[in-house]
Symmetry: C2
Subunit: 336 residues, 2 copies
Amino acid sequence: MQPKIKDVARVAGVSVTTVSRVLNGERYVKDDLKEKVNQAIDQLGYAPSHIARSLVRNKTNLIGVIVPDLTSSFYSTILSSIEEAASTNDYNLLVCNIIEDIDKELKYINVFQEMRVEGIIIMHEKINEEIRALIHKMNIPVIFSSVKPMDQEFASVIIDDYKAAYDATKYLIELGHEEIGFIGGDMRDITSGQNRYSGYRNALSDHSIKIIYENIRFGDYKVKSGYEQMKDILRNKQTPTAVFAVSDDMAVGAMNCIWDHNLRVPEDISIMGFDGSQLTELARPRLTSMEQPIQDMGKVTMAALLKQITNKETSNEDIILEHKLVVRESCIRRDS
Amino acid sequence: MQPKIKDVARVAGVSVTTVSRVLNGERYVKDDLKEKVNQAIDQLGYAPSHIARSLVRNKTNLIGVIVPDLTSSFYSTILSSIEEAASTNDYNLLVCNIIEDIDKELKYINVFQEMRVEGIIIMHEKINEEIRALIHKMNIPVIFSSVKPMDQEFASVIIDDYKAAYDATKYLIELGHEEIGFIGGDMRDITSGQNRYSGYRNALSDHSIKIIYENIRFGDYKVKSGYEQMKDILRNKQTPTAVFAVSDDMAVGAMNCIWDHNLRVPEDISIMGFDGSQLTELARPRLTSMEQPIQDMGKVTMAALLKQITNKETSNEDIILEHKLVVRESCIRRDS
């Protein structure tokens, strides 16, 4: 398999010590020996072992990343931007795909510990106690990206989800809509579940609009659940003139459901999304969405993590990024 | 930072040797010492170092994966299935996102070598000579997934791209279409570029259908290029009644372009995709597509790689998976 230092020594016809000296760039190695060693290195394709060196330097340049769903364009876009920032800083990613599988997550956290990762990035907020305790004991920087766990033990890079959902709802109200349906997320999630729902509700009540519970449904952020929840909403006696879904995936699912019912977006029902994923431009009509700065989120997360690693201290201070309403084609003024 | 074996010894009030004996499960360690060591391990959150052990065992359980574009649902789905198979077999993935960046790829291959990955999976076929030489020298199993590089040095897990494209075109011919446009891939790629184009051309000529060069365009597999190429095709005097795009992303781009021109799919133009990505079900109308078994592809790739690792021998034998036409809503019989 991989050539070792003793193989280099054998091929070069020198001692292991000499090879080691050449590798470490020490002076006082005769030029012809240096030449022989370098030729042997070339010939064998020898590379110094990262693992051996990291043992000595106590530095692995590894970051563990936990993604809830690699096939979601939202997470894969954040991961892509984390990877870019990591690579620029000579860090490498151990990527772990959790799909609400606690055992797998636990196993990976153990791997992270054994592999001596220097930091961890987590993109879901349903951290159980065992995992929390394990991470805590590792005593290395941990940052949550795009989500916020239950308490303030670790830092998060997020937007103000309450405000963003409030602003999205307010925009629909300003377009004249009064029956505004809602497809929310998992209410166990603080940011994407609870905060977005509160933002929606408070925007309605601040504008004296009655909350119609039949038009409020909760999904799991994915296209399919947006479709299913919209189907339920369309069964109601009085269907809303606009629906706000708290992920672009669910919004596209809702749009597809409306299409399949031979209704039109936005003429019959306006649809507002959330996230700013690739789907916003892919959908027809193009999806109006309350956007998170997904590209920045990965970069900012990685920068914050590296800062903690470099300063050798952990921080639990959140970083709040700006949300932005991007108006496309899926929401129009309500016919008066 | 991470507690070390000597910290455990200090807290337990025993020697490092005793800790080591307990960790290695040796007999002849007194029960009360064992108890003390285990308490100290618990208290400190000590975990044996993977890197130290991998030095001894010459086994890192690491696989390097090179993905051309993490944000593409095609690649992220394959990656997700690779990750699942790896995790089941206690392997971990170092994930590297190349975006046609040779320098970054070269750097990562060096990282893979330094990290002593046990195998490499590559998902693009534009391997340059320097990288090829480097991989060759590493002398570890390498498998290309969903693509095939220029020569037969390494194994690939692929479908029969020629046959798949032939069958897709033949299906459109059987629906009565005679002007069938084509949005191809990168002609430097053998499988997804050249073979799919040959399949299209030969299906036409085998059915005595004239090739209309104005209706043949080449993109980069992404949504945007499908859109742009379709725009060019729509500018032609005689637009085709069906278009075959060699990726679902390009097919969706083409559908969006048709929508933006106030034409209808499939009534005005039928659209055939290729890949079987998530987009096929997301699109409206749903996309008829010549599908690759994307989920299986990751699993089969990982299984083949593990087999090579276990048997300590590299193989260059390709594994050909079945393609399958999945008829949805985007292709209809041509009006006679």
